[in-house]
């Protein structure tokens, strides 16, 4: 798919977050995500991935720049942006006194406009998370993997234009992580767009269509994993990352 001609779900234009004069958590970050594309921001802990994602999710206010989600600016139409996104924070929890099903219903009611939509979202959520009977149990009884699956199901059951997933497989065992990666790929093939963040570059290499390498708040490189491997003559994204930050004298 030609990146320029594709329908853009997210356009990030010079997005910056400055906490104190001269101290940027992210600086002039620019990239875009096409419909049905999985775009991943990769970088070490503290690179500015979460800050960038939080700005796009309208949780933090950008100091400079803008981001447009499904045609709506995060600066001027934050509520419309929230209607088109779902956000799964890193190491997020859920309401432990609710059952899995009640949680999906509670969240569905925030996104849906009609009762029929609520039912549709909940049904889809139940299918995605594959928790079966355990959905009728309180979330407090869930393992970490089960809870993450439930949260991921919550994030994608409403089929948002853009699902923003921060470290979607962090803390999960190999089997659960693989399942989640497969699920993301399947949904992307059905037209849903994803913005992921991870410091697990091998995972990103497997799951994402394009990646953005971010360090110290700067987006240093973007491209398809295969293109980047070829461009830098490396075997994997970790080596690409090392080359990129070294070339940019970041480390």
């Amino acid at each position: 798919m030609d990146n320029n001609s594709a329908e853009k779900v997210l356009e990030v234009k010079g997005l910056s977050k400055q906490y104190k004069k001269g101290v940027y958590a992210s600086e002039k970050v620019t990239f875009d995500v096409n419909k049905g594309e999985i775009f991943a921001l990769i970088g070490p802990n503290g690179a500015g991935k979460t800050t960038t994602i939080r700005m796009i999710s309208t949780l933090l206010q950008a100091t400079e720049g803008d981001a447009v989600v499904a045609g709506h600016s995060i600066l001027t139409e934050p509520e419309k942006v929230r209607k088109n996104i779902t956000y799964l924070p890193d190491e997020a929890g859920a309401y432990k006194n609710m059952t899995g099903k009640a949680y999906l219903k509670f969240m569905a009611e925030l996104y849906a406009d009609t009762k029929a939509e609520v039912d549709e979202y909940v049904q889809r959520g139940c299918e995605i998370c594959e928790l079966g009977e355990r959905l009728n149990y309180k979330i407090a009884t869930y393992s970490r993997g089960m809870q993450r699956k439930l949260l991921l199901a919550r994030a994608i059951m409403s089929k948002p234009a853009l699902a923003i997933l921060d470290e979607p497989t962090s803390g999960l065992d190999i089997i659960n992580a693989l399942e989640i990666r497969r699920m993301i790929k399947k949904l992307a093939s059905e037209g849903m767009s994803f913005l992921l963040s991870s410091h697990n570059m091998l995972e990103i290499e497997y799951v994402s269509d394009r990646v953005g390498i971010i360090a110290k708040g700067h987006l240093l490189e973007t491209g398809k994993p295969s293109e980047l491997l070829e461009k830098y003559g490396t075997k994997n994204l970790e080596e690409v990352f090392e080359r990129v930050v070294t070339d940019n004298e970041i480390l």
């Binding site: 906490y19 104190k20 101290v23 940027y24 958590a25 992210s26 070490p44 802990n45 503290g46 690179a47 500015g48 800050t51 939080r54 999710s57 309208t58 949780l59 933090l60 206010q61 509520e79 929230r82 209607k83 996104i85 779902t86 956000y87 799964l88 924070p89 890193d90 190491e91 997020a92 929890g93 859920a94 309401y95 969240m107 925030l110 996104y111 949260l151 919550r154 923003i164 110290k216 708040g217 970041i250 480390l251």
Partner: protein, 444 residues
């Protein structure tokens, strides 16, 4: 060595800067409360042995009794005096107000005649109540009056007979109890024939219910909202919620409303329970009906309208507690710090709660009084008393202050919730924000 390392680590965790700060604030607050109470006790006990007397009988005998009384009270161990006053009418409320005194012993006309007839003589004691607080009603006036007047009567009439051993059986019986005390209580401009101690004990039902419920409600609702916010922040469910298509105002309002509803439910349950408990205590008591009538005549029973006034201040206090808890919840780093952060609210509720139960806050020194008035919950703890004693200015002044305080707290809370601060600030040096900054600077 290993044990010492473990011990040091545990101690460091438990003795955080927050814990130390809370301890310091608690000590300062308790010292302040102690000073305030000490001031009230000193004021209450000052001149405690003085007896203000109106001698309506004014005979040679009563003058001799008063002389004997003066001699007794001026003795070193008592350090008291007799203050003679003149009443111009039988309207005790007006006379106490005119003479600017809190209580008086009245030797009625015919006192001498009763003694001469070998009958138990009547003495009246009238006391003005301006508050239902315990220490503001410290008075041994009636007990002193009976004790010392009895002694004076005994020494004036029967001293010689006792020495000579010529007393009749009737006189011996009278010697045990030569005086009967009739007590009256004045509230505002009304007087009722009922002892102030009985009034105080009967009113304790009303005056205890509101403060206890208020204290429980403030603590309960604050704890709920503070824990709710802190848990949502720590579990990151708040991020999930605030990234959903719902306004932040709705999220905050829903939390506050839910906490308010649960708090109100608690209020109703506690109110019902306490009233049942209090009515159970007084049910079937001797003279219960006449006591209730006396309280009603003194204006010390709450009407439906007065309950509404008290309810308004209770509601305002709960909203203030909730808005402060919103701010503190946003500051909490984790569940442990949320538990510590409740302390300012606990102290702000406990100080006026204790002081209003013990003291008449209106009589405190101006500096202490205004410090206590600055605590918004104080006005609710005073609400039922202000309503019953018709302290209209104080009541509405309190309401206006609470509304302004609430507006300021809510504005502050909303500013935190509507901005990045909800994710970036935490108590003890904006650690979250610092972490973000540190993240951006990694490697440098």
């Amino acid at each position: 060595m290993k044990f010492f390392n473990l011990f040091r680590k545990e101690l460091k965790e438990m003795l955080s800067a927050q814990t130390i700060l809370v301890m310091i604030v608690s000590v300062v607050a308790l010292v302040f409360a102690g000073r305030a109470m000490n001031e009230a006790v000193s004021e209450g006990t000052e001149g405690m042995m003085d007896i203000t007397i109106y001698d309506a009988d004014n005979t040679d005998f009563t003058q001799a009794v008063l002389k004997s009384l003066e001699d007794t009270l001026s003795a070193e161990e008592y350090d008291g005096k007799v203050i003679k006053v003149e009443f111009e009418s039988d309207d005790y409320a007006a006379e106490l107000k005119r003479l600017d005194i809190k209580s008086a012993v009245i030797i009625p006309k015919g006192f001498t005649q009763q003694v001469e007839d070998g009958k138990t003589a009547d003495v009246e004691f009238v006391q003005k109540m301006t508050s239902l607080a315990r220490m503001s009603n410290i008075s041994t006036g009636s007990d002193n009056a009976v004790y010392f007047l009895s002694s004076a009567v005994k020494s004036t009439i029967y001293a010689d007979k006792v020495m000579e051993g010529t007393m009749t059986t009737e006189e011996v019986a009278l010697l045990e109890n030569p005086i009967t005390l009739k007590e009256s209580t004045v509230v505002a401009n009304k007087t009722e024939d009922i002892a102030s101690s009985i009034v105080l004990s009967l009113c304790s039902a009303q005056t205890m219910i509101v403060p206890i419920i208020m204290f429980v409600l403030i603590m309960f609702s604050s704890q709920m909202i503070l824990n709710a916010i802190a848990t949502e922040k720590v579990d990151k469910t708040l991020e999930t919620l605030l990234s959903a298509p719902v306004s932040r105002l709705s999220v905050i309002s829903a939390k506050m409303l839910a906490a308010g509803v649960v708090a109100a439910l608690q209020a109703v349950v506690y109110m019902f329970g306490m009233q049942e408990m209090m009515s159970g205590l007084t049910e079937g008591a001797e003279n219960a009906d006449s006591y209730q009538a006396a309280l009603s005549n003194l204006g010390l029973t709450m009407s439906a309208g007065q309950y509404v006034l008290v309810g308004i201040q209770m509601f305002l206090s709960i909203l203030i507690a909730l808005s402060i808890s919103l701010i503190l919840g946003a500051l909490a780093k984790d569940a442990k710090s949320a538990q510590t952060l409740i302390m300012p609210i606990t102290l702000s509720a406990m100080i006026p709660y204790l002081l209003s139960m013990m003291l008449d806050l209106k009589t405190m020194s101006p500096v202490l009084r205004y410090i206590v008035y600055a605590i918004p919950f104080t006005h609710t703890f005073m609400a039922s008393e202000n309503a019953m004693f018709r302290n209209t200015t104080l009541y509405w002044g309190g309401v206006i202050y609470q509304v302004i305080f609430l507006a300021v707290c809510m504005t502050f809370a909303l500013r935190i919730f509507m901005s990045d601060k909800i994710f970036t600030i935490s108590i003890g040096g904006k650690k979250t924000a610092k972490t973000e900054k540190e993240k951006s600077l990694f490697g440098r």
